[in-house]
C-alpha cells in the first residue's frame, strides 16, 4: 500500500517535470519569434561597421517571467542578443561607467573638414574634405527632416528626458507635428533662453512631444538606419560609410569593438558626453551606426552646461560605487577627469582604441 503511493507520487513528479520543460520550450520559441519579427534587418551592413553585440548568455534579469527556461535552454537565445535587454540591470548595480567623447574619439568628422586628420595621418586631404562635407550634409539633413532640428535648434537640451515632465503622455501616432503651431509666434512666446525654456504650458507640451518622438525614432531605427533613410539615401549612406572606413583605417570599427566589449558585460555601461547639440549628436550617432552601442538615455550634450556638469549628472546617476573611466581626445574632458579623480584614457590615434579593446579583452579594465 505504501509503496504504491510513493510510486504514484514519483510518476506525478516526473510528469510535472516533463510538462514544465515542454511548456518552457514553447515559451522560448514564442519569445524568439516575437523578438525576431520586431527587428527587421533589411539593411545588412556587415561590410561597414554595424553594431553587433557579441554573443553572450542572457542576463539573469531577463527571464523572470519564464523561470524554468534558464535550466534547459540557455543556448536558444544566444543568436540575436542585443545590448538593450528588456530588463537591464539597475543603474546602482553598475560597476564601471565609460564616459566617451564623440568627436574625434569614436567618430572622425570635424577633423576631416579642417584637414587636420589628413595632415596627421597622411591622407588625401581633398578626399577627406569631400567625405566630411558629404557626411555633414547627411547629418543635418536627417536632423532637420526627421528629428525636428529646425524646431528644436534654439531649445537645446542636455538629455532626451529633460522636458519629459511637461509631457502628458498622449498618443502621438496620429499627431501632426507640422501643423501644431509650435513654430508660429501665435504658438506662444517661444523663447529658449539658456536659463531654461520659457513659453506657455501648451508650448512646453509640444516641445515634450517632439523629444518623445525623437526618442521613439531613435529606438526604432537605431539598428536599422537604412530603414529610416529609405532609398536612395540608404545606398548613398552605405557608400559614404564604406569610403570613410577605408580613409580612416577602420577607426570606427575599432571603436565599435571596444564599445561592444563593454556592453557585453552586465556591470559596465557606455555613456556619451559630447559638445555637439543633442539633436545633431543623435543624428551623428545614428548615421555612424552607433545606435546599438548607446541607449538614448545615456547620451548627454554638454553645449549648454559644460562637460563638468554633465559628468556630475552621470556620477549622480550611477552612484559613488562605480568606477568612472573617461575616454576622450581633448583637453576639456581630461581636465574634468583629473579634477574628479577619474582615470583618463587618451585617444589620439587608432592604436589607442586598439589598446583599449585589448585591455578590455584581457579583463584589465
Amino acid at each position: 500500500f505504501f509503496r504504491k503511493k510513493t510510486l504514484g507520487t514519483i510518476y506525478i513528479y516526473i510528469y510535472i517535470y516533463i510538462y514544465k520543460v515542454y511548456i518552457s520550450n514553447l515559451y522560448i520559441w514564442l519569445y524568439v519569434c516575437m523578438y525576431m519579427t520586431c527587428h527587421h534587418m533589411r539593411a545588412c551592413v556587415c561590410v561597414t561597421a554595424e553594431y553587433h553585440a557579441p554573443t553572450s548568455p542572457p542576463t539573469p534579469g531577463k527571464e523572470q517571467e519564464v523561470a524554468p527556461v534558464r535550466r534547459s535552454s540557455d543556448g536558444k537565445l544566444r543568436g540575436r542578443k542585443r545590448a538593450n535587454d528588456p530588463v537591464p540591470p539597475l543603474d546602482s548595480d553598475i560597476e564601471r561607467v565609460f564616459i566617451w567623447d564623440l568627436d574625434e574619439t569614436i567618430i572622425i568628422f570635424h577633423s576631416l573638414l579642417t584637414g587636420t586628420f589628413s595632415t596627421r595621418f597622411g591622407k588625401d586631404s581633398g578626399k577627406a574634405v569631400s567625405l566630411g562635407l558629404w557626411m555633414e550634409e547627411m547629418i543635418f539633413n536627417l536632423a532637420d527632416s526627421r528629428l525636428f532640428f529646425n524646431d528644436l535648434e534654439e531649445c537645446d537640451q542636455v538629455h532626451i528626458d529633460d522636458v519629459a515632465s511637461d509631457d502628458n503622455g498622449q498618443d502621438l501616432s496620429t499627431y501632426n507635428f507640422g501643423t501644431d503651431g509650435f513654430q508660429s509666434p501665435a504658438g506662444g512666446g517661444t523663447l529658449c533662453l539658456a536659463s531654461g525654456v520659457h513659453g506657455g504650458v501648451d508650448w512646453m507640451r509640444k516641445l515634450a512631444f517632439r523629444y518623445r518622438r525623437v526618442k521613439e525614432i531613435y529606438n526604432t531605427y537605431k539598428n536599422n538606419v537604412g530603414g529610416l533613410l529609405g532609398s536612395p539615401k540608404r545606398e548613398e549612406w552605405l557608400q559614404l560609410r564604406r569610403e570613410m572606413e577605408v580613409l580612416t583605417d577602420l577607426w570606427l570599427t575599432q571603436a565599435l569593438k571596444a564599445l561592444a566589449l563593454i556592453n557585453s558585460r552586465p556591470n559596465c555601461v557606455n555613456v556619451m558626453v559630447t559638445t555637439t547639440q543633442l539633436i545633431p549628436a543623435l543624428s551623428k550617432v545614428l548615421l555612424y551606426g552607433l545606435g546599438g552601442a548607446f541607449p538614448i538615455e545615456n547620451i548627454y550634450s554638454a553645449t549648454k552646461t559644460g562637460k563638468e556638469s554633465c559628468f556630475e549628472r552621470v556620477t549622480q546617476r550611477f552612484g559613488r560605487r562605480a568606477v568612472y573611466v573617461v575616454v576622450g581626445d581633448g583637453v576639456e574632458e581630461e581636465t574634468v577627469a583629473k579634477k574628479k579623480n577619474m582615470p583618463f584614457w587618451r585617444v589620439t590615434c587608432r592604436a589607442d582604441l586598439e589598446a583599449l579593446s585589448h585591455a578590455l579583452e584581457l579583463d584589465y579594465l
Binding site: 560597476e95 568606477v323 582615470p343 583618463f344 587618451r346 589598446a355 585591455a359 584589465y364 579594465l365
Partner: protein
C-alpha cells in the same frame, strides 16, 4: 601566438589601468596586470604603478614589500593620504599580531611614534591634532603671556577658539604640567652634565593638545660643542631622525637637532654613560 599580455600599452595607459583597478577594488586583477608588465625601469618608476604595487602588497599582507615601496620613492602630495593610511594600517596590523589583541587608541599612538611616517609620503608639516592649528596658535600665544587665565578669560578663549571652556582649561593644565616636567628634567640633566650652556627648553611649535611628552624647540641655534651634538631619538628601535622632534621624557636633556632628513645618528661615546641611566628610566 605568443602575444605579450601588456602589448604595447603606453605609460599613460598603464597608469590608467592601475587607477581603474585600484578604484574598483579589483586587487587580484591589478596584481595580475602588474605582474604582466614588462620589466621596464621607467615604467616601474611611474607613480601610479608604484601606488598600485603598494596597494597590492598591502592586500597580500606583504608588508616588507609595502614599506620598501613607500620609502624608496618620493610620492606627490595628492597621493599622500592614501599611502599614509596604508603605512599606518600595516603597522597597526603587525603590532596587533604581536600583541594578540586588537589595538586601542593608545596602542596605535605608540605604533605611530615608533614608526613615524617616512618623508616620501609625508611632508612633515602636519600631524593630526585634535584642535585646529588656529586654535592652538591662539592658546599658545595666550600661554606665553599668562599661563593662568581666569575663568572669564577662559570663556573668552573658548569663544575665540571654538572650543569649550573645559577643553581650554584642560589644555592649559596639561601645558603647565608638561612645561614643569620638562623644566624639571632640564635642571636635573644640567646638574648631571655640569655643562654651562644649556638651552632653555622653549615651547615647540609642534606641541599639541594630545602630546604626552615634552618637546623641545626645533629651531634653536646649534649647540656649542660637539659633545652636545647628539641626536638621540631612540624610541625602542632606531627610527628616522626626520620625524618630528619629540624626545622622550627620559631624554629631555638631549637636545634634538632640528630633524633634517638624512641627519646621521651620532652617538657620542662620551655621553653613553649618562645615557644608559636615562635609558634605564625609559625602560621602567
Amino acid at each position: 601566438m605568443s602575444m605579450l599580455p601588456s602589448f604595447g600599452f603606453t605609460q599613460e595607459q598603464v597608469a590608467c589601468v592601475c587607477e581603474v583597478l585600484q578604484q574598483g577594488g579589483n586587487l587580484e586583477r591589478l596584481g595580475r596586470f602588474l605582474w604582466s608588465l614588462p620589466a621596464c625601469d621607467h615604467l616601474h618608476k611611474n607613480e601610479s604603478v608604484l601606488k598600485a604595487k603598494a596597494v597590492v602588497a598591502f592586500h597580500r599582507g606583504n608588508f616588507r614589500e609595502l614599506y620598501k615601496i613607500l620609502e624608496s620613492h618620493q610620492f606627490s602630495p595628492h597621493n599622500h593620504p592614501k599611502l599614509q593610511q596604508l603605512w599606518l594600517k600595516a603597522h597597526y596590523i603587525e603590532a596587533e599580531k604581536l600583541r594578540g589583541r586588537p589595538l586601542g587608541a593608545v596602542g596605535k599612538y605608540r605604533v605611530r611614534r615608533k614608526f613615524p611616517l617616512p618623508r616620501t609620503i609625508w611632508d612633515g608639516e602636519e600631524t593630526s591634532y585634535c584642535f585646529k592649528e588656529k586654535s592652538r596658535g591662539v592658546l599658545r600665544e595666550w600661554y606665553t603671556h599668562n599661563p593662568y587665565p581666569s575663568p572669564r578669560e577662559k570663556r573668552e578663549l573658548a569663544e575665540a577658539t571654538g572650543l569649550t571652556t573645559t577643553q581650554v582649561s584642560n589644555w592649559f593644565k596639561n601645558r603647565r604640567q608638561r612645561d614643569r616636567a620638562a623644566e624639571a628634567k632640564e635642571r636635573e640633566n644640567s646638574e648631571n652634565n655640569n655643562t654651562g650652556a644649556n638651552k632653555q627648553n622653549q615651547l615647540s611649535p609642534l606641541d599639541g593638545g594630545k602630546s604626552l611628552m615634552s618637546s623641545s624647540e626645533d629651531e634653536f641655534s646649534p649647540p656649542q660643542s660637539p659633545d652636545q651634538n647628539s641626536v638621540l631619538l631612540l624610541q625602542g628601535n632606531m627610527s628616522h631622525p626626520g620625524a618630528s622632534a619629540y624626545s622622550m621624557t627620559g631624554l629631555g636633556a638631549e637636545q634634538s637637532v632640528h630633524g633634517m632628513q638624512g641627519h646621521p645618528h651620532q652617538l657620542q661615546d662620551s655621553l653613553l654613560g649618562p645615557l644608559t641611566s636615562s635609558l634605564v628610566d625609559l625602560g621602567s
